[in-house]
Symmetry: D2
Subunit: 406 residues, 4 copies
Amino acid sequence: MGDTETVEVRGHILDSGILARILDDVLEYGGDYRIERLDVGREHEDESRALLSIGADDAEQLSRILMRLQTHGANAVSPGETVLRAAPGDGVFPDDFYSTTNLATQVRTEGRWVAVDNPEMDCGIVVAADRLSARTVPVSDVRAGDLVVCGADGVRVVQPPAADRDADSFGFMSSSVSSEKPQALLVRQIAEQLRAVKARGEKVLWVGGPALVHTGAAPAMVRLVEAGYVDVLFAGNALAAHDIESALFGTSLGVDLSKGHGVPHGHEHHIRAINKIRAAGSIAKAVSSGVLTGGIMHSLVANDRRFVLVGSVRDDGPLPDVYTDVIDGQRAMRAELPGVGFVIMVATMLHSIATGNILPAAIPLVCVDINPATVTKLADRGSAQATGIVTDIGLFTEQLADELCG
Amino acid sequence: MGDTETVEVRGHILDSGILARILDDVLEYGGDYRIERLDVGREHEDESRALLSIGADDAEQLSRILMRLQTHGANAVSPGETVLRAAPGDGVFPDDFYSTTNLATQVRTEGRWVAVDNPEMDCGIVVAADRLSARTVPVSDVRAGDLVVCGADGVRVVQPPAADRDADSFGFMSSSVSSEKPQALLVRQIAEQLRAVKARGEKVLWVGGPALVHTGAAPAMVRLVEAGYVDVLFAGNALAAHDIESALFGTSLGVDLSKGHGVPHGHEHHIRAINKIRAAGSIAKAVSSGVLTGGIMHSLVANDRRFVLVGSVRDDGPLPDVYTDVIDGQRAMRAELPGVGFVIMVATMLHSIATGNILPAAIPLVCVDINPATVTKLADRGSAQATGIVTDIGLFTEQLADELCG
Amino acid sequence: MGDTETVEVRGHILDSGILARILDDVLEYGGDYRIERLDVGREHEDESRALLSIGADDAEQLSRILMRLQTHGANAVSPGETVLRAAPGDGVFPDDFYSTTNLATQVRTEGRWVAVDNPEMDCGIVVAADRLSARTVPVSDVRAGDLVVCGADGVRVVQPPAADRDADSFGFMSSSVSSEKPQALLVRQIAEQLRAVKARGEKVLWVGGPALVHTGAAPAMVRLVEAGYVDVLFAGNALAAHDIESALFGTSLGVDLSKGHGVPHGHEHHIRAINKIRAAGSIAKAVSSGVLTGGIMHSLVANDRRFVLVGSVRDDGPLPDVYTDVIDGQRAMRAELPGVGFVIMVATMLHSIATGNILPAAIPLVCVDINPATVTKLADRGSAQATGIVTDIGLFTEQLADELCG
Amino acid sequence: MGDTETVEVRGHILDSGILARILDDVLEYGGDYRIERLDVGREHEDESRALLSIGADDAEQLSRILMRLQTHGANAVSPGETVLRAAPGDGVFPDDFYSTTNLATQVRTEGRWVAVDNPEMDCGIVVAADRLSARTVPVSDVRAGDLVVCGADGVRVVQPPAADRDADSFGFMSSSVSSEKPQALLVRQIAEQLRAVKARGEKVLWVGGPALVHTGAAPAMVRLVEAGYVDVLFAGNALAAHDIESALFGTSLGVDLSKGHGVPHGHEHHIRAINKIRAAGSIAKAVSSGVLTGGIMHSLVANDRRFVLVGSVRDDGPLPDVYTDVIDGQRAMRAELPGVGFVIMVATMLHSIATGNILPAAIPLVCVDINPATVTKLADRGSAQATGIVTDIGLFTEQLADELCG
C-alpha cells in the first residue's frame, strides 16, 4: 500500500473491545494494519498500549481512516500540523474537513496544541484567526472564510476512550442482528451456502414454526423439499397441524389462505385436522391412504424426507407422530444430527433453542425471524455460530425457493 | 341457500362487538345471515337480544357455522336433541364431533338439559352411558366407544358472553396488523391498486424513512420512480442524506452496500455527503452539475417528480432542500395533496403520522413496516383508513418493483 | 341530564363496530344515550340506520360530545345554524371552536349548506366573509378576525364512515394492550382483585416464566407466597431451575444478582443446580434435607403451596419434578383448576397459552409481559377474558408485593 | 490468591473479541488474571496466541473458572489427567462433573488423549470402562456407575473458537440492553448517581417523550422537579401538550387518567389545550395568569427550571413555546448544555438521538424505554456512553421519585 502512518492507542483497549473495533474499521475503510507493538496491561486494572501501522492506497484514503480511528481515541504518533482551509460559503465546509468525534480534542497549529471547545460529533473545527482558540461548529453555523481544520493531521483526541463498561457492545448490535440490511443479498448468500452443502453430500436441517404456514410460505417450502433442500425438519405439533389443516380445509370453507383473509386463531379446524390424522394412525398413513394430499408434511413423506415433531404443553391433540415426552423427543432429534452440514431455523423460538442446545458448534446455522428477540435469544444461549436475519418469513422463503428452484 | 337455522344471542352484544363478530364469522364460514329481530337495550346498562336466520349450502356447512357461533354465545332457537356417536378408537373422535368452547355449556339428551362439566376449549363432549351427566374430554383422553356429541344439535351455551370490557378487541388484532399473513399476496394486491390509481390519472404519494436505503431497497425504488409509480415523496433529511451518501461513497470506500456489510452508524460519510450538496446549492443543482448521478433522489429529479423533505431536531446538516421550519414543511406537504389518489408509507413513523395528520380520510393508504408498533400508532392517531403490512422493507419493495416493472 | 340532542348515523355501523364506538365515546365523555331507533340492514350488504338521543349535564358538555360523534359520521338530526366567532388573534381560535375530522364536511350558514374545503383533522373551519365558502385551517394559519365555526351546531359530516374492512379494529388496540397506561393504578386494581378473590375463599393461580427470576422479582414472589397470594404455580423447568440456581449459587460465585451484573446465559450453573436436585430426588426432598433453603420453589414447598412444572423440548436436565410428557402435564394442570378464582400470567408465552387452553372463560385472568406480542397472542387464541398489561416484570411484582404485603 | 493455573488460547482472539470475553469471565467468576504472554498476529490474517495465568481462592473455584474458559477454547497448558467418578445414580452426575461446551473436545486418560463423541453443550462426559472412548451424555441419560469426567483436569477443547465473523457480538447483547435484569436495583443506582451529580453542583438534564404523561408518570415527575432533580427538560410539542391537556381537562371530562381508561388518541382535547396556551401567549404566561395550575410544565415554570421544546413535522398547533425551526431548536439545546453533569432520556427516540448528537461523550447518560430498539438505536448512532434500561416508564419514574423524594 502506498501510504502509511503509525497510530497509538492506550487504555483498557483489550477487554473493552476498542482494539477489536479499530482493526475492524481499518479493514472496512479499505486499509490494512500491522500491530507494531502491544504492551499489555498484565493485571486487569492496568492499561494497555498499542502501536499500529496503518496502510492505505493513497493519502486521501489514509486521511479518512485516521479521522475514523480518532473516534476510538487512536491518534497518529507524529501528528504534524493542522491544515486549515477557508470555508467556501456560509453553511459549507471545505471538502476534506475533519469530522469531529464527541471526545475532548486538541488541534496543533503554529507548533502549539490548542483545546477545541464543546466536543460534539459530526461537526467541523474552526480555528480562530489568531490561532489561539478553536471551537466545534455544526455545518449550518459555519460562515464563509472561517478557518476549518482539514484532514487528520495535527488533530488528537485527548480523552481516553472509556473502558470497564458493557456499553461498548452497543456498536456491534446492528451489524449482527438487524432488519436494516440488504435482505435480497442475504437470501442469495444463503442459497449459495445451501448449494455448497448439498454439493458436499451433507444434509440440510430445517427447524420451523407454524408462521411458515400462516405467512403463506408452505408452497415455497414444498418446492424446496422437492428440490432436495430439506433433508430433515424439526418442528412441533403446531406447524404440522396447521399445514395439514390448510391442506384439508383450505378450500372447502371460507377461511381461505388464497384470499388473504388471514387465519382466525382459536377456530376448530386445527383440532378436526388433528382428529382426522389420529383416525388414520399417522401422517404417513394419511398420505398413503389418500386422506392427506398436499402441504409440507405430505411433501416430506412423499419425498422420503425425515421429520421429528416434539410436543409442548400448549398442544391440542396432538398429532399421532408427535413425541409427547420431550426427553424422548430430544433423543429423536439427536439421532438425526449425523450428516447434517447446515441448519436453517425459521420462525420458532422454542424449537430453535432446543436444536441449538444439542448442536455441535461446528455446524453453521442461520436463524430467520421477523422478531429480532428470537435471533438474539438463540445466540444468547450459547449458539455463537448463529447468523441472524430479521425479515419476513413469507417473502424470505418464497425468494429462497425462487433462487434455488428457478 | 339450502339449509337455514335461527339462532339467538343476548347480552351487551352491540357495544362489546359480539354481534359484529358473529356476522363476520357467518360470512367467513361461507354462509349468509338475515337479522330477523334486534331488540336493542335502550340505555347502556340494558341487554340487547338478536334473532338471526343463518343460511348455508348444506347441512354439514350449517352445522359447522352453528358450532362456530356458539363460541360467541349464540344458540339455536330450536336446539333439538344431541346426536351421539361412539368414538371409533382410543384418542379419536367421530368425524363430526362438537368442538367445545370455554363457556358453560349444556347438552340435551332424552328430553333433558344436562350441564357439561369442566368447560375447556377445543375438546369434545362425552355423555355418560346413563345419559345423566356429560363431561369435556380432550381428544387424547377419549376411549373407544365413548358417546361423543356430534354436530351442533342439542347443544347450548348458557354463559352469556362477557361484555363491558375492552378485551374483546383482542380478536381483531391479528387480522389487521400481523406478520402472519400471506405477504406475497398482499404485494400483488397493492400492485393492482397502484395500477388502478395510475389508470385513473391520480398521483401516488410515497412517505419513506431511511431504512428504504439501509435495506437495499433504493434500486427497486428507482425502478418504481422510472416506471411512474412515485409521483411525490415525503421524507426527512435522513432518507435523502443516506441515499446520496450511498450514491457518492457507495464504492469508493470499504463500507459497501453491495457486499452486505451493513452500514456502520455514526461514521462521517453522511455529513460529507450533506456538505457536498450544500456546496452545490441543492439536490437538483447537484444533479444538473453532475455531482449526483444515482440513487432515489437523483431519479426523482431526473424524472421530474416532486419531493418534500421536512427536517427534525435530530438532523445533521441538513441538506439545503430540507424545510427546517416544521410548520413551513407542513404547508409544503399540504400543497402536494391535490390529485393524490393513493398513499404508501414505508419505514417511517414520524413522517407517516405527519402525513396521516393532514390527509383526508377518503384517500386510501397503506403503511408498511417491520415493526408492528408503527402501523398501530398511525391508525391509533385517527387514520382509520390505513391498511397495515408488517413485513421486510427490502424484500417488499423489490417484490413490488418486480410486480409492477416486470 | 339537562341537555339532549338527537343524532343519526347510517351505514355499515353494526359489523364495522362504528355504533359500538359511538356508544363508548358518549359514556367516556360523561354523557348518556338512548337508542331511539335502530333500522337494521337485514342482509349483510344492507346499510343500517340508528337514531340516538344523547344526554349531557350542560350545553357545553353536549356540544363536545356532538363534535366528538361527528368523527364517526354521526350528525345531529336538527343541525341548526353554525355559530361563528372572530378569531381573537393570529394563530388562536375562539375557545369553543369546532375541531375538524378528516371526513368530508358541510356547514350551514344563512340557511345554506356550504362544503368545507380540504378535510384535515384537528383543525378549525373558517367561513368566508360572504358566507359562500368555508375552508379547513390549522391553528397556526388562522388570522385575527377570521370567522371560525364554534360548537357543533350547523355542522354535518357528509361522507359516510367506511365499512367492510378490518381497519376499524385499529382504534381498539391501544386501549386493550398498551404500555402507555397509568401502570401504578393497574397494579392497585390487581391487588384489589387478589384481595377479593382470597376473601371469597378462592385460589390464585400464577403462571410464570424464568424472567421472574432474571428481573430480580423472586424476593417479591416469595413475599406474595408467604402472604397467601400464590396458591398454585404453573411453570416450566426453566423458572424452577434458575430460581434454584440463584438460591444455590447466588453468592458463592461472581455471577451475582445482587450486584446487578445480569445473568450470563449459557453458563453451567443451571445444569449443576439441576443435578443437585436430581441427586436429592425432588425439590421437596431438597428442601427437607436442607439442600435448598431459599427462593420461590423453596417458599412454595415450605408454605404447602402447589406447583405443576411441565417440560419443553429445550429443557436441560430436567428437574425431577418436571412432567416430561406434555399430555401428562396438561392432566396435572387440569387437576389444579377446581377452586381457582383468578389467574395471573407473568412473562411466559408457552405456559400462558397452555393455561389459557384449559381454562374456563368464567375465570378472570391477567397477563403481564414487557412484550406486547405475548399478551396479544394469548387473547388471539381464544382467551377473550384476558386483560393485558405491558410492563416491566420486576417492578410490577415488587410493586404488587408492596401493595399486598405492606 | 491460593491456586493458579496457566491457560493458552490461539486464533483470531483479538479482533473476534474472544480474549476480551475470557478476561471478563475470569473476573465475573471471582478469579484474577495475569497476561503472561501475548503473541500478536501482526497482519489481520495472522492468528494470535495468549498465555494467561489464572488465579482463584481455592481449587474448586479455579476448577470452575477453567471449565468456563474452555467454552472460549482456552485450555490449561499442563492439562494433567482426567478425574473420573462413578455417577451416583441414574440420571445424576457427580457433584463436580465437567459441564461440556459444543466444541470438539478431548479427554486425557491413562496418558492418552481420547476424542469425545457428539459435542453438545451442558452435558457430561462419560469415559468407557476400557478408557478407549468417551461420549457426551445428557444428565437424563447417565446411568449409575458410569465413569464421569470431573473437574477440568485432563480436558481440552481442540476446535479453535471461530473468528472473522460478527456473530460473536451476540453474547454481549443481553448484558447491555435487556429487560431481564433486576430493575429495582438499577433504579437505586440511578438515584445514587443523581444525588452525586447534585452534590457536585451539576445540572441534571431530562429528555422526555409524551409517554411520560400517558403512563401516569407526571405526578412523579412533578415531585422530582420540586425536589431539584430536573434542571432542564428537552422535549417536543407532544409531551408539553398532553401534560397541559391533562392538567386542563383531566377531571372535567370522562377521559380520565385517574380512572385508568387510557387516553384515546386522536380526540380533540390536545388541540383545545394548545389553543388555550396560544391564547395566553406562552406556557409561563398561562401559569402566571392562573390558566395552568398543575402538571410537569407548570412545575418547571413555578420552580424556575429550564425547558427547550423543539417541534416536529407531526405536531398539531404547536404550543407557542415550541421552536418550529429545528436548527434554531438545536442551538437552543446546545445553549443549555454547560454545567450539565448527567442526562436521563425517557420514552423518546427523536429527542434522545437529537440530544445524543450534541452531547460530549464525557457526560454520562441513561436511556430508559420499554422498547429495546430505542436504546439500541441511540447507542448505535455514536453515543457509546449510554446505559440502557428497558423497563416500564410509569413504574420507573414513580420508583425513582420514591427513592429520591422519600
